[in-house]
Symmetry: C2
Subunit: 238 residues, 2 copies
DNA sequence: AAACTGCAAACTGTCAACAGTTGGCAGTTC
DNA sequence: GAACTGCCAACTGTTGACAGTTTGCAGTTT
């Protein structure tokens, strides 16, 4: 551990700080740094072959994004999620994506909807081959839908929430999950969007997200309903 | 300009970095640093009597929050808003606060609603004295409502959006605005919340936000509807 | 043996200096 | 006079070192 290891080399972003943000986010989301783990600044900086300055700046941004929890004089921890946190994130996701559906219902062009359908058939064929890796595609569909809604601020917010949920999910071993069911629900949603029926579309999205949340809670081994249960693998903010 | 001026002294937060974030946010929101202006790191650090390290960390966080725009090798600028930006922020605010109303309709206790009414009569009496400074109170009511919805993630998101809109508003001289009308609309909303009528409550909030947006656009001297018009006082992110 | 005290190592917070980039200005050319 | 070129000042990006805090352990006490 004496020379720049850089097992994951820095992308060609303009500054070390930006590149480090990207790399760190990946390392957190794919579990290279486990949830609840502390980020040792000197060791990570050494691994990336940079100094602590740009690393700390990247940490601040990821903390604002909700992926890290920074505690004064103790360090930055990969965020962990209580059942309550996940329910709240799903409620927030509901707020964002239901509104996205409303907007998309007005604004989506037929080409937009065609592309969404194309995504779905692609996902479907991949599932036929190996049922793994279906979750990222699930997220991609939702983000694409928000994109179609044509609102950058909304898009950014939705992206942040999804990243947090992806991290929460990474707290457990990934299971094949309900990929097939999700694809069907997506397809039905697109069909309703074509008919421009806002009421029906929001209703379907609402149900879909509800299914998704229960699936997530079960994957995480958390009770589907019940009293609040605090996570204790990482301390809360001060 | 040789010694620590500290016209605005740092609060007793744990670290310089955190304290600086708070102070900088205030300076941006109250116009001490004008929208579109560049933040000179050395001069601000000198003013606050700290070095550039913690200052830069604070800048990163405020950039994630949407108050600053950072451009590599050129600096951090107080964000400016195009008409499109404001419309998008209002759409996002709609998504968040309409959902907050739905949740509040289920969860708000009678005491919560009493407190909201108390806030309103307080605001009302202040308006009677001097019609100025009504805008912060307007925001407080909305945040309080989101708080009643009982979702921290939602609260954080709503707070971010409101801060950005407050900054956008600061781009123009503050006018007394439609404070009276807003208070009435708020009071009506609380009344409907008491009857637990979700449909009616969301409808009212929706209309209220629409009024608010048009008022904001007019205060900013932007067309109420029409083609996109880019702001040009500060460059966009790269 | 359990609890408390004090030290030491490890780590974060902060600083001051160095390096690289940008933008503008003076001088030159056409 | 306008456009171009090259330099210089100002500023951001990054670094390595120093300072203060936390945490765990060894030693002591009850």
């Amino acid at each position: 551990m004496s020379e720049p290891v850089r097992s994951r080399s820095l992308p060609r972003n303009n500054t070390f700080s930006q590149a480090t943000e990207t790399v760190l986010r990946e390392m957190v989301l794919d579990g290279t740094i486990a949830p609840g783990a502390r980020l040792n600044e000197v060791s990570i900086a050494a691994q990336l072959g940079i100094s602590r300055g740009p690393l700390r700046e990247a940490i601040q941004r990821l903390s604002s994004e909700g992926l890290l929890t920074v505690i004064s004089h103790r360090g930055a921890f990969v965020r962990t999620f209580s059942r309550q946190d996940i329910v709240e994130l799903y409620e927030l996701r509901c707020a964002l994506e239901l509104h996205a559906v409303r907007l998309a219902c007005e604004r989506a062009t037929d080409e937009d909807l065609d592309e969404l359908d194309a995504m779905l058939s692609d996902t479907e064929s991949r599932i036929r081959e190996s049922s793994a890796h279906a979750y990222p595609q699930e997220l991609d569909f939702h983000l694409r839908l928000v994109l179609v809604a044509g609102n950058q601020a909304l898009m950014r917010a939705a992206q942040d929430v999804q990243r947090q949920l992806a991290l929460a999910r990474s707290m457990s071993a990934k299971r094949p999950m309900r990929a097939r069911a999700a694809v069907i629900e997506h397809a039905d949603l697109v069909a309703v969007l074509r008919s421009r029926d806002v009421e029906q579309a929001t209703l379907m999205m609402s149900r879909h997200l509800d299914h998704s949340m229960h699936s997530a809670l079960s994957v995480l081994g958390l009770p589907q309903d019940g009293a609040t249960e605090e996570s204790d693998t990482a301390p809360d903010s001060e």
